[in-house]
Amino acid sequence: MNVAEAMTTGPRWLTASGIRSIFRDRPMVPLLGLLAILVVVSEVIRPGPISLNWAGVMIRAAVPLAILAGCQTLTMLTAGIDLSVGAVASMSGFLVATLVGDLGLPMAIVIALVVSAVVGFVNGVGAGVFRVHPLIMTLGMSLVVLGLANVWQLLRVQTGSGVPIEFRQLGANIEFGFLPVSLLLFVPLALIIMYILNRTGFGRLLYAIGDNEVASRLSGAKSWQVLTVLYVISAVLAGIAGFLFSGLTNVASVTLANSALLPSVAAAVIGGTSIFGGRGNYSGTMIGALILTVISSILSSLGYPEAVRQILFGSLIVFVAAAYTRITGEAGT
């Protein structure tokens, strides 16, 4: 923003071109550094169990969050945001848990993903065709989804079976003492996301729209089509994350993943994705999700209450986002 730039210039040592280019071009380096520091801190304050098993537990907890954060990364690249992922993830986990008894697992999964995709389609049409601000659109849809899920819950008193055993194995099991089963799902998913972003025309279009929507439209990109597909992808990813959430906690509730919504935005922001669009990558987001998971494990092992965790989370988001803004010289609207 011109005004802000005219009035403030960052501290001189931070604008040194070397540090700037590291942060701008290789955001993974400082992020991995931060992660390493956190792991060391965690070892120091709670000596002992930094082991392969500990790493497995951390990764297992970070995986569903990383998927939700992937939704935020993708949508934030186009200068949007998807605040319906929490509601969609909870809904899809809940749908499967209530349907699996009657329809069998494959059918239940298909239904949950189709419903997620419909929600994403509505989001995409609202944001792409009607030009509603994605924040409002997805916030409104999260209300709709939550309400409908509650109605569904009343219509269908949940049978005792609950979360299918397959989800529990997928979400919670750790093989060989260190390898979370959820990686079987996550690694291909992450590779696909990164492939889409880095190697396909669709990925280029996401960056282009986020960078300058008018310019991309004038160069022939149909932004409404891109956005519609994007929000469908985002909602389906959220639906998949919902399976893992319900498996990890062995709970199926209509508000299960709501508490992961804000951390998912935080993970993307920490991972270097710009909320203005056009800058960011999924690899950073994954590290961001891991960083958040390690921090909350440190805090809970120190016996701090949930409240302190929230305060630190919030402060960390502001701090990291401020550091990015300073270092990359990108200013707000």
Partner: protein, 334 residues
């Protein structure tokens, strides 16, 4: 459309012209009033004995929501958005409830003033962080949502505390006649006392200036930084008022934020305040809150599930914004 451009020069003319100008400037608000009137008639038809008691209940449930909506309006007018309003309300509510518990009525006055100052401080922190870190408003206030909610949990882990009797009496019961609830009068007085002087002052004007075009405002000598912070300070103040109203109406403090942030954004959008900043006032959002609450009441009268009521609220929010942007697109094409 050309006629609207030269209306300001005509406004000194006959009262008829002034009236038409007033109508044209407030089309959206007047439309909302119309919808509200229609809704009241419908309510009366559904529930023939909907009367003073119903209005009382409505006013009490509207009070904190309306204050949240006014707080959001202040932030949105200057082209910001405050997602931490619900948490600030929770924090101010628990602080006031813990301090007032089993204390004298006189001490409660000090507490009320102290909590309002706390609200100003919370807002100032939000605003200063946004301005000085240059991080987008959404990200900062999203983060502060965590921080204030955490702080509220530290102050009071479970719902508790108390409220001074005079504060409770301020919101419960009617004024003069049964049809005028105290809560509604209180809302009108509070908003009038804080908002009208601001709206009329230089600061109010600069809020709108920064909201409609920060660069132009900067070049005309308005302090963009100061105005931005000021808008969040106002949002903090009204959130603190909202928190106090929560303590007053429920008699306790609850550390978990209610749905106020979400509802405030919905109310602002429905109330005709553009999220791009610079247009609208506080009246529209307040009426929008009343409409949303009345819709909920009507749906309970009709035995509609409260969850479906949430769905309807979400659909209204999305629908109104869609129609609004469609109209804008049409206008741009012609």
């Amino acid at each position: 459309m050309t006629t609207t451009l030269d209306t300001p020069t005509k406004s000194t003319g006959s009262p008829g012209v002034t009236l038409s100008l007033l109508v044209r400037r407030n089309t959206w608000t007047l439309g909302l009033v119309g919808i509200l009137a229609l809704l009241l008639v419908i309510t009366r038809m559904i529930q023939p004995n909907y009367g003073p008691a119903g209005i009382q209940g409505l006013a009490i449930s509207v009070l904190p929501l309306a204050l949240a909506a006014v707080a959001q309006t202040c932030a949105v007018l200057a082209r910001g958005i405050d997602l931490s309003i619900g948490s600030m309300m929770a924090l101010t509510s628990v602080v006031s409830a813990t301090l007032m518990e089993e204390r004298s009525e006189g001490f409660a006055v000090v507490v009320v003033i102290g909590v309002l100052v706390l609200g100003l401080a919370l807002g100032a922190i939000n605003g200063a962080l946004i301005v000085f870190t240059r991080v987008p408003d959404i990200v900062v206030t999203l983060a502060m949502l965590f921080v204030w909610a955490g702080a509220a949990l530290l102050v009071l882990n479970t719902p508790g505390g108390g409220s001074a009797a005079w504060l409770r009496r301020l919101t419960l019961g009617p004024v003069f006649i049964d049809w005028v609830p105290k809560a509604a009068v209180l809302l009108a007085v509070v908003v009038a006392v804080f908002w009208i002087p601001i709206r009329r002052s230089r600061l109010g004007l600069s809020l709108y200036a920064v909201g409609s075009d920060p660069l132009a405002a900067f070049r005309s000598g308005v302090s963009v930084t100061g105005t931005k912070i000021f808008s969040y300070v106002l949002a903090g103040l009204f959130s603190a008022l909202g928190g106090l109203s929560l303590t007053a109406t429920t008699g306790i403090g609850t550390p978990v934020p209610g749905p106020y942030t979400l509802m405030s954004v919905a109310a602002v959008v429905l109330g005709g305040v553009s999220l791009a900043g610079g247009t609208g006032g506080v009246l529209g959002p307040v009426i929008a809150v009343v409409i949303l609450s009345l819709l909920r009441t009507d749906m309970t009268f009709l035995n509609v599930d409260t969850n479906l009521a949430t769905v309807v609220q979400g659909l209204i929010l999305v629908g109104v914004v869609m129609v609004g942007s469609l109209i804008q697109m049409r206008r741009r094409e012609t």
